[in-house]
């Protein structure tokens, strides 16, 4: 989560990518750039030299950190990643798309959610309620390989009435953080 927020913040200074909806209407979405770690891009840096293996297996030479838990029984990496050009994602119909349009990839299987997302109902938009909005990408909230939303630490519960009364008067002005 934290990483994603930082990336979104960064993108405010680096300018945004306009990505287009490749299925259905050609509405433009204002989205932050993709969130993969920089060290892995461009993927072709290695993959132009790594022989393509299509069989499912445990990856050991690289990407060992990727835990694949996303309908993994029916699927393998190369259903989403283009085998020949690793800088691209692959749609079910074989079309190649850029990473910044990854919501189109997800939208193929999660149609209802995708429709809501385009309306700003699933996921999140920031910006102006009466002007330009920035859609947060699916992958800002869901890791594509392990998409279940990660539990969060809740912030401090409110004080109970009695606890509030016990707060010494002279400490007024000190915030909750410092009081602990």
């Amino acid at each position: 989560m934290k990483k994603n927020i930082i990336i979104v913040l960064l993108s405010i200074f680096t300018g945004f990518v306009f990505a287009t909806d490749t299925i259905g209407e050609t509405k433009e979405f204002f989205v932050p750039p993709p969130a993969y770690p920089e060290r892995v891009f461009p993927c072709t840096r290695c993959h132009d030299n790594v022989p393509i293996k299509v069989q499912e297996r445990i990856l050991t030479m690289n990407h060992a950190d990727i835990v694949f838990d996303h309908a993994e029984e029916q699927r393998w990496c190369l259903d989403c990643h283009d085998a020949k050009n690793r800088n691209k994602l692959k749609m079910i119909n074989g079309n190649k798309i850029d990473f910044d349009g990854s919501y189109n990839l997800c939208g193929q299987c999660h149609g209802t959610i995708f429709r809501d997302w385009k309306q700003g109902v699933h996921g999140k938009r920031i910006g102006m309620w009466n002007g330009k909005k920035l859609n947060r990408l699916c992958i800002n909230c869901h890791n594509p390989h392990q998409p279940a939303f990660k539990p969060l630490e809740p912030q401090d519960r409110p004080l109970k009435p009695l606890e509030a009364n016990l707060t010494p008067k002279k400490k007024a002005g000190i915030n909750d953080q410092e009081r602990k």
């Binding site: 989560m1 809501d116 309306q119 700003g120 109902v121 699933h122 996921g123 999140k124 938009r125 920031i126 910006g127 102006m128 309620w129 009466n130 002007g131 947060r136 909230c141 939303f149 539990p151 969060l152 630490e153 809740p154 912030q155 401090d156 519960r157 409110p158 004080l159 109970k160 509030a164 707060t167 008067k169 400490k171 007024a172 002005g173 000190i174 915030n175 909750d176 009081r179």
Partner: protein, 307 residues
């Protein structure tokens, strides 16, 4: 009773009431803060109702308050009075199928809106319900849940704040017209008119109004200096305050702070009169409900389950 210099406009208001009362008794002279009265007290004493002031008068009031705050807090706090945007009515929607109960909204609201840290005031309360609870029972819900991680199994969470009713019971009971509904639909409080009688708190079915029992305690460097007269400017002891959908932000096109901070995107905001707004999409395409609909307060705060 007014021997000491009186800086709290809430008190000035009480003085004004006493003054009016005693004038009727022909005792006007004795009730007035005659001695060390500063011009500023006289001004707040005779300040007109917000809706009756013209732009020039409002400007003067804002300048006076900015000076007072400069003294009190030792820093500049900008107070604006942006008017409602013509033809806009604000509404809010909250997706209960996404909310995870993390309380990020609670604290984003506290710092954006200069709520007192000590004593603690929170405009947003997040209520936890067991999935098979009779969960509409707001009064008995758990607001003190404190696990290591949220969401917890079999639980769901419902944040509650001012519902910005179209027919607000709080407004009706105010004896001094210190609280009212603006053209864009939000209910505001003029802290310089509020006399702290707390009738509005008793009238609100949602527990959305909060009282400053003592002087608000906010560390100086945590004050948000971008404020609105009817919203997040610093409050006084003895006045009531509440959520305004962040009037200081929304009237210049921004989203409320709670919408921006929500990590799951459960909070939606927009213009009810704009058929293309996400709010209208939700009302037209999702099953929405409002709290305590039977009371006919007609909240502009919708809850829904996206899935």
């Amino acid at each position: 009773m007014t021997k000491k210099e009186n800086n709290e406009p809430g008190k000035a208001m009480i003085d004004r009431r006493l003054f009016l009362k005693s004038t009727a008794l022909g005792l006007a002279g004795t009730a007035l803060p005659l001695k060390k009265a500063r011009a500023s007290i006289w001004n707040s004493f005779f300040q007109e109702h917000f809706s009756e002031m013209d732009d020039g008068e409002i400007k003067k009031v804002l300048e006076r308050l900015e000076q007072e705050n400069q003294k009190k807090y030792g820093r500049n706090i900008d107070i604006r009075a942006d008017k409602p945007i013509e033809g806009v009515k604000f509404a809010y929607a909250l997706d209960l199928s996404r909310c995870v109960g993390c309380r990020k909204c609670v604290y984003a609201c506290v710092s954006e809106n200069n709520q007192s840290r000590n004593p603690q005031i929170h405009w947003i309360s997040v209520l936890k319900f067991k999935k098979d609870d009779k969960w509409i029972d707001l009064e008995n819900a758990d607001r003190y849940y404190d696990p290591n991680l949220v969401p917890e199994d079999d639980s769901f969470y419902m944040p509650v704040q001012c519902q910005q009713c179209e027919d607000p019971p709080c407004v009706k009971v105010c004896p001094t017209q210190a609280t009212w509904k603006e053209k864009d639909g939000i209910i505001v409080v003029d802290y310089n008119w509020c006399i702290g009688c707390r009738y509005c708190m008793a009238a609100c079915p949602y527990g959305a109004r909060h009282f400053n029992w003592s002087k608000p305690g906010i560390p100086k460097d945590e004050i948000n200096p971008n404020t609105h007269y009817l919203g997040n400017r610093p409050r006084y002891k003895g006045v009531v305050e509440k959520c305004t959908f962040c009037v200081q932000r929304t009237r210049v096109g921004k989203y409320p702070a709670c919408v921006e901070v929500c990590p799951v995107g459960a909070r939606k905001f927009g213009d009810l009169l704009d058929p293309d707004s996400e709010i209208r999409y939700i009302i037209e395409n999702k099953r929405v409900f409002r709290l305590k609909e039977d009371l006919n307060t007609i909240p502009k705060f919708y809850y829904f389950f996206a899935t």
